[in-house]
C-alpha cells in the first residue's frame, strides 16, 4: 500500500512538473544544446524522407486506385532497368513504412476523414469511379456485385493514402524550413523548435484535404473541398493519435500472444506508437520503424552524423541512436500539437482558463508518462 501511494504521488508530481514547464513556455523535451542539435538534424533528414513518402503516397492514390496488383507502385511511374536494379538491390526509400503509417491511421480511424469515407456521398462517387474504371471489364463489375464492400474499401484506403500524403507534404516543408532557419541562426532552443512547428501547423490548420481522380479524361472529386476535411483536425490529430500514441504491435519490438489478451482488446488502449517504441530492438529486420531509421540515415546532416560517430558504437548502432533522437523530436511535435489544441493559451492568467488547460494537459500527460518521455529527459 505504501509503495502504491508513493508511486501515485510521484506520478502526479511529475505531471505537475510537466504542466508547469508547458505553462512557462517550455517543451516536453528538455532544452539543451545537444537536444537542439539532435532534434533539428533528425527533423531535417525526416523532412527529406517525408517528402519522398508524400510524393509516393499521392502517386499511389492518384494513379494506382482500383489497380489490384500494383507491382510498380513504388516507382512513381518511372520504370526502367536501372531503377528496377536499385529496387531489387534494396537501394531505395522504404515506402513500405509510409504504407504502414497509412494502414495504422486507417485502422485506428478518428477525425473527419475517417467519418467522411463512411458517408453516402463518398460511396456514391466511389460507385461512379468503379463503373467508369471497369466499364469494359465485366469480370471486375461482376466481382463488385458479388462483393460490394471490397472495392469501396479499397477506395477508402486510397483516400487515406492521399490524406496522409497531403499531411506529410506540409510536415516535410515545416521540417526543412526549420533546418534552414537553424542553419541561419534563427532557431536557438527547443522552445524555438516547438514554436516553429506550431506556427507551421497553425498556418496550414484549415488547409483543405481533397482527393480527385481521373478516369478517361473524366475527373471525380472523391473528397471534394466542400466535404470540409482539413489538414489539422482531420488528418493531423488522427495521425498523432494513430502513429505517435497507438501504433500497432509487431513481433520483434514486443512479444505477445493475442489469444492470451496480451494486447489490449480496445484499440484506444494501444500504446505501441512512436512515443512509446522501444529503441533497442530497432535495427532488426522486418520491424517497420527500422525502415524509417534506415531511410533517415541516408539524409543526416553532417553535423549530426559527426555527433553520432563519436558516441557509443559510432556507425554500428546508428539506427538506435537515430530512433532515440527521433523520439526526442516527436516530443517536440507533440508539444506543438498539445499547445495548438489547448482550449486556451497555455500562458493565460485567467483562473478558469488555467483550470481548463490543466485538466486538458493532465489527460495528455497521463498518457505521455507511460511513453519514453521520462527516459529521453533523464
Amino acid at each position: 500500500m505504501v509503495s502504491t501511494k508513493t508511486i501515485k504521488s510521484s506520478k502526479s508530481l511529475l505531471i505537475d512538473e510537466y504542466i508547469q514547464k508547458l505553462e512557462q513556455g517550455e517543451a516536453l523535451l528538455q532544452d539543451s544544446p545537444q537536444n537542439l542539435l539532435e532534434v533539428v538534424g533528425i527533423l531535417k533528414s525526416y523532412g527529406v524522407v517525408l517528402d519522398a513518402y508524400s510524393v509516393n503516397l499521392c502517386y499511389i492514390a492518384n494513379t494506382q486506385f482500383l489497380v489490384l496488383f500494383p507491382f510498380f507502385k513504388y516507382f512513381n511511374g518511372e520504370i526502367n532497368p536501372k531503377k528496377l536494379a536499385r529496387y531489387i538491390w534494396q537501394d531505395r526509400i522504404n515506402f513500405e513504412y509510409a504504407e504502414y503509417c497509412m494502414k495504422s491511421m486507417f485502422w485506428h480511424g478518428g477525425g473527419g476523414l475517417d467519418a467522411y469515407v463512411d458517408s453516402p456521398e463518398f460511396l456514391a462517387v466511389i460507385k461512379q469511379v468503379i463503373k467508369a474504371k471497369f466499364k469494359y471489364n465485366p469480370f471486375m463489375l461482376g466481382l463488385d456485385k458479388l462483393f460490394p464492400d471490397f472495392l469501396p474499401e479499397h477506395m477508402r484506403q486510397m483516400a487515406f493514402y492521399s490524406g496522409l500524403g497531403q499531411f506529410w507534404r506540409v510536415m516535410s516543408d515545416i521540417f526543412i524550413s526549420l533546418s534552414d532557419r537553424y542553419d541561419n541562426g534563427e532557431i536557438k532552443s527547443i522552445p524555438d523548435v516547438v514554436q516553429h512547428i506550431l506556427d507551421g501547423l497553425v498556418a496550414d490548420a484549415a488547409r483543405p484535404i481533397t482527393y480527385t481522380v481521373k478516369v478517361k479524361d473524366q475527373t471525380y472529386d472523391i473528397i471534394p473541398k466542400s466535404a470540409g476535411i482539413t489538414f489539422l483536425m482531420d488528418t493531423g490529430v488522427p495521425y498523432v493519435e494513430a502513429i505517435f500514441f497507438r501504433g500497432t504491435p509487431f513481433p520483434g519490438t514486443i512479444s505477445y500472444n493475442a489469444q492470451a489478451y496480451q494486447i489490449p482488446y480496445d484499440q484506444g488502449m494501444f500504446n505501441y506508437g512512436a512515443l512509446y517504441a522501444d529503441p533497442l530492438p530497432i535495427g532488426s529486420s522486418g520491424i517497420p520503424p527500422t525502415l524509417l531509421m534506415q531511410d533517415m540515415r541516408h539524409y543526416l546532416p553532417d553535423y549530426l552524423h559527426e555527433y553520432y560517430l563519436h558516441t557509443t558504437r559510432g556507425e554500428d548502432d546508428l539506427k538506435i541512436k537515430i530512433c532515440q533522437t527521433f523520439q526526442k523530436s516527436m516530443f517536440c511535435v507533440t508539444t506543438a500539437a498539445v499547445k495548438g489544441l489547448a482550449p486556451h493559451p497555455l500562458d493565460t492568467q485567467d483562473a478558469k482558463e488555467k483550470q481548463a488547460n490543466r485538466a486538458y494537459l493532465t489527460n495528455w500527460l497521463k498518457r505521455l508518462l507511460e511513453s519514453q518521455l521520462v527516459k529521453v529527459n533523464s
Binding site: 522501444d278 533497442l280 530492438p281 530497432i282 535495427g283 532488426s284 529486420s285 557509443t312 558504437r313 559510432g314 554500428d316 548502432d317 546508428l318 539506427k319 538506435i320
Partner: protein, 484 residues
Amino acid sequence: MLSTLILVPLLGAALIGFLPQKKPDTTRSIALAIAVSVLILNLVLGFQFNPTITGFQFAEDLPWIEWIGLNYHLGIDGLSLPLVFLNSLLTLIAIASSSKSIERPRLYYSMLLLLSAGAAGAFLAQDLLLFFLFYELEIIPLYFLIAIWGGKRRGYAAMKFLLYTAFSGILVLASFLGLVWLTGASSFDYEPLRTQNLAVNSQLLLLAPLLIGIFIKIPIFPFHTWLPDAHVEASTPISVLLAGVLLKLGTYALLRFAVGLFLEGWVVLAPWMAILAGISALYGASCAIAQKDMKKVVAYSSIAHMAYILLAASATTRLSITAAVFQMVSHGLISALLFLLVGVVYNKTGTRDVDSLTGLLNPEKGLPVTGGLMILGVMASSGLPGMVGFISEFLVFRGSFPIFPIPTLLCLVGTGLTAVYFLLVINKVFFGRLTESLSQLPKVRWVEHVPAFALMTLIITFGIQPSWVVHWSEVQAVTLLTGG
C-alpha cells in the same frame, strides 16, 4: 621433418623467453610467426603424407639414453597426423586470440609454444618413454598458464589439474614399465612392443592403470572433476588448447596404447568401457543442462562428447576407429570455437552467467556476429547435417551400434541432450530484449572474430567433405585392429 614440428615451437619458446625485454606486440608477433610456420610445416607434411601406406612415415630414430631403453624415435601415421595438425592450428588460434595487453607476455607466449611442442612430441613419439616425457612436459606450461593468467580461483584449479594429470602420468608410466618388464623387451620402442604376445590376464593387469590414467586425461566420468574447474579458471586461449589438444592426448593414448598394445585385453573390457561411455555421455549432458556458467556448459559438453570416442574405441571396428579419430578432430574444432565465442561474450559483458545475459543477438547494440557464430557452433555440436559434428557422430554411432547397441543408444540420448542444453543457453543469452545494463557493450572488432571464422570454415568444409580427414586414418584403423 618431424623434429622440426617439435623444435620450432621449442626454440621459439626459448627465443621469446630468453631474449631481452620486448614490447608485448613484438613478442606476440614472434609467437604468431612461429605458430604460422609450424602450421605451414604441417600442411607440407600433410601433402607429402601417403595415406595408403600402413605404419609410420617420416620416421626419425636416434639412440638417446640407451641403458634405460629410451630412443628418440618419431613417426607419423593416420592416427597422429590429424592431431598434430589440430595442435598447430589451435596453437595459432590461441595466440591470435590472446589479449594484446596480456601481462608477462614473454613467459605467456613461451609457455604456449612449449605446450604446443609437448603435445606435438607426444603425438609423434614412437617410444613409450618418449611419449611419457612429452605427456608430462605439457603439464608444466599448462599449469603455469592456468595458475598465472587464470581467473579468481586459478590457484585451486591449477593445482587440481596438476595433481590429477600428474597422477594420470604415473599410472601411464607404471603400465609402460610393466609392459617392458613382462615382455622382457630391451627398449620402450612402440613397434617391437606391439608384436609381443602377452597373456590376456597380463594385458588386463597392465591395461587397468593405463586406462585409469587415460580416463583422467580425457576425462571420463568419474575421473572428470578437474576439467570444469580448469576450464572455468583458464583464460579463453588456454581453454581452447585444453579442450582442443590436451584432452586429445588422452584419447590418442587410448587408441595408440590401450587398443594398439593390448588389443585382446581391450576386447575383454570393451563392453564395460562402452557402458562407461554411455554413462559418461549422459552424465556430462545432464550436468551441462544444470549449469549457469556458459563455460561450464561447454566444459561438461566436452565430457559428453569425449565419451563418444571411448564408445567408438570400445566397438573396435574399422569404421568406429576411423570415427574415433574423426570425432577427435571434430570435437577439437567445435569446442575450440565454442570456447572462443564464450570468451568474446565474457570479454565484452564481463559475465558468463546465463541468467544475467539476454538479447545479445541485438543487431545494433548486442553481439550479433558472436551470437550468429555461436548458433552455428551449437548446431555443429548438436550434430546437424552439413557440419563436421554430424559426420563424426554419425560415424561413431554407425560404427558402434552393431557391436554395443544399448551404450550407443545412451550416447544418442546424450547427443539429443546436446541440443537441449545448448539451446537453453542460446535462448537465454542471445534472444529476448537486451537489458539496459547490457546496452552499452563495446563493439567486437572483426579481427576478434577471425579465429572463430577460421574454425567455422573448417567445421563446414569437413562437414561437407569429410573424406579429406577420414582418408588419412582409414588405413591406420585397420592396422590398429589387425596388428599389421
